[in-house]
């Protein structure tokens, strides 16, 4: 706001010219405004300056003026702008169509991931399930032994160091052993087995080493 010490005095034309723009903006204090109002009542020149300035503001505020040559836009400006917008719109459409099938795919991936995580937390029962599957890569007539003094359900090649008591074994064929519920020892029968990477690496290592092995199989 314009501060003046002689606010109560009549304003001069020079002061009015200096403040007319602020007056139009409503940016003069009440005292100066009333002094200028009084001046405009008596001074035709200053009244002309005020109304002429208002006319200028009114005329140029019309948006049609921007459409004229007030600002010379660079050659090709409109064409480049239209092209840029078209590119943006095309990119958006591509993304929209992509997202139309990406969303369900992402949902499926999330569901599958969730199931995988759930399975990881309970993988031991899965292994147990796998252990009872019939082996299919061990010759069925291979002669094997099983321990008779322990509850171990493993069958071995004779002389396997993992046999608890070498003197207390029973001899049978691999097929018979499997039919009786025995599973192969991954130490001595390793060459017949397709041992997977999770052997001995899981947190359920309190089970037998053999029991942690991946699914063995009997060749038919």
């Amino acid at each position: 706001m314009v501060e003046r010490e002689d606010k109560k005095e009549a304003v001069t034309c020079e002061l009015v010219w200096r403040e007319v723009s602020n007056y139009i903006e409503g940016d003069v204090d009440a005292t100066l405004r009333s002094a200028m109002d009084a001046h405009f009542q008596t001074c035709a020149h200053c009244k002309s300056v005020l109304e002429g300035s208002r006319n200028v503001i009114q005329l140029y505020s019309d948006e049609r003026l921007i459409d004229e040559q007030i600002v010379e836009v660079p050659a090709g400006y409109s064409r480049r702008l239209e092209k840029r917008l078209a590119q943006t719109a095309r990119a958006n459409r591509r993304w929209s169509s992509l997202s139309a099938w990406l969303v369900p795919v992402a949902a499926l991936v999330l569901i599958a991931g969730g199931l995988r995580l759930a399975n990881l937390g309970t993988h031991t029962p899965a292994l147990k399930v796998q252990q009872v599957q019939p082996p299919n890569s061990i010759p069925p007539d291979l002669v094997v032994v099983v321990s008779t003094d322990t509850d171990s359900k493993l069958f071995h090649v004779a002389g396997c160091p993992l046999i608890h008591d070498q003197g207390k074994v029973r001899t049978l064929t691999a097929k018979e052993a499997i039919d009786q519920g025995y599973i192969p020892c991954t130490q001595c029968l390793r060459k017949y087995l397709n041992v997977s990477g999770n052997q001995g690496s899981d947190e359920d290592d309190d089970h037998d080493t053999e029991a942690d092995a991946a699914v063995p199989g009997v060749r038919h």
Binding site: E14, W17, R18, V20, S21, N22, I24, E25, D27, A44, H45, K47, S48, V49, E51, G52, S53, N55, V56, I57, Q58, L59, Y60, S61, D62, E63, R64, L65, I66, D67, E68, Q69, I70, V71, V73, P74, Y77, S78, R80, L81, E82, R84, L85, A86, T88, A89, N92, R93
Partner: protein, 220 residues
């Protein structure tokens, strides 16, 4: 039927309704209509960017960025404000960000400040008469106004464009141009008074000769 006649007889209203229709269509996903929505304002967008950046290449770049940003955010546009105002505000913000990023500080020359301190005395004190807005329907009148604006020094023209044509407030104009509020006020006063004198002189040369003013009077 009566409503249709009102629209037909009022081009401005028809334009507004068409713009609202375009906005609704774009918001529903018809992105190809966005350029049609922007086209009437594309010069204004460029003018706002140029007034702040003062470099045609940067201004065009920012104008494109602003339009693309408006396109990306069209869902956020609410009918409470005019589309052009919203678009210009985005442009001004984009231009200001560009200028801050490039750290192009605009220094006020000492000579500029000295010149601004000298008072400007209006030259013409003719009787005033309000110019009807229909006057601007004549292309030659718009061209005369554009020519008058083009004769102003750049420092006055850019303040006038941002404040009186792009409708930024004084503070925003100062920030946009990197000059003080006091300088904005001084330059705005000069720009308004100089344009008033220029257009009053044009009256003498017959610019408004076919306008409905009484003989012997000027628009101010």
């Amino acid at each position: 039927m009566a409503e249709a006649n009102v629209v037909l007889n009022n081009p401005e209203l028809a334009g507004t309704m068409r713009e609202q229709d375009l906005i609704a269509r774009v918001q529903r996903g018809q992105s190809e209509d966005f350029y049609e929505l922007v086209k009437p304002h594309e010069r204004r967008v460029y003018a706002a960017a140029l007034a702040i950046l003062r470099n045609p290449a940067d201004a065009e770049d920012v104008a494109q960025e602003a339009v693309v940003k408006a396109f990306a955010n069209i869902q956020q546009f609410r009918a409470e404000s005019r589309f052009s105002t919203w678009l210009i505000q985005i442009t001004v913000n984009e231009a200001l960000m560009r200028r801050r990023r490039e750290r192009t500080v605009v220094m006020e020359a000492i000579d500029d400040r000295r010149e601004e301190e000298a008072e400007y005395a209006p030259r013409d004190f003719a009787d005033w008469r309000e110019i009807p807005s229909e006057t601007l329907e004549r292309k030659e009148v718009r061209q005369r106004l554009a020519d008058a604006l083009a004769t102003l020094d750049r420092k006055y023209r850019e303040v006038f464009v941002l404040r009186d044509m792009e409708h930024l407030n004084i503070q925003e104009t100062a920030e946009a141009l990197g000059i003080s509020v006091a300088s904005v006020k001084t330059r705005l006063l000069r720009a308004r008074l100089m344009l008033r004198d220029l257009l009053a002189a044009g009256w003498e040369q017959g610019w408004f000769s076919r306008l409905p003013f009484e003989k012997g009077t000027k628009p101010w």
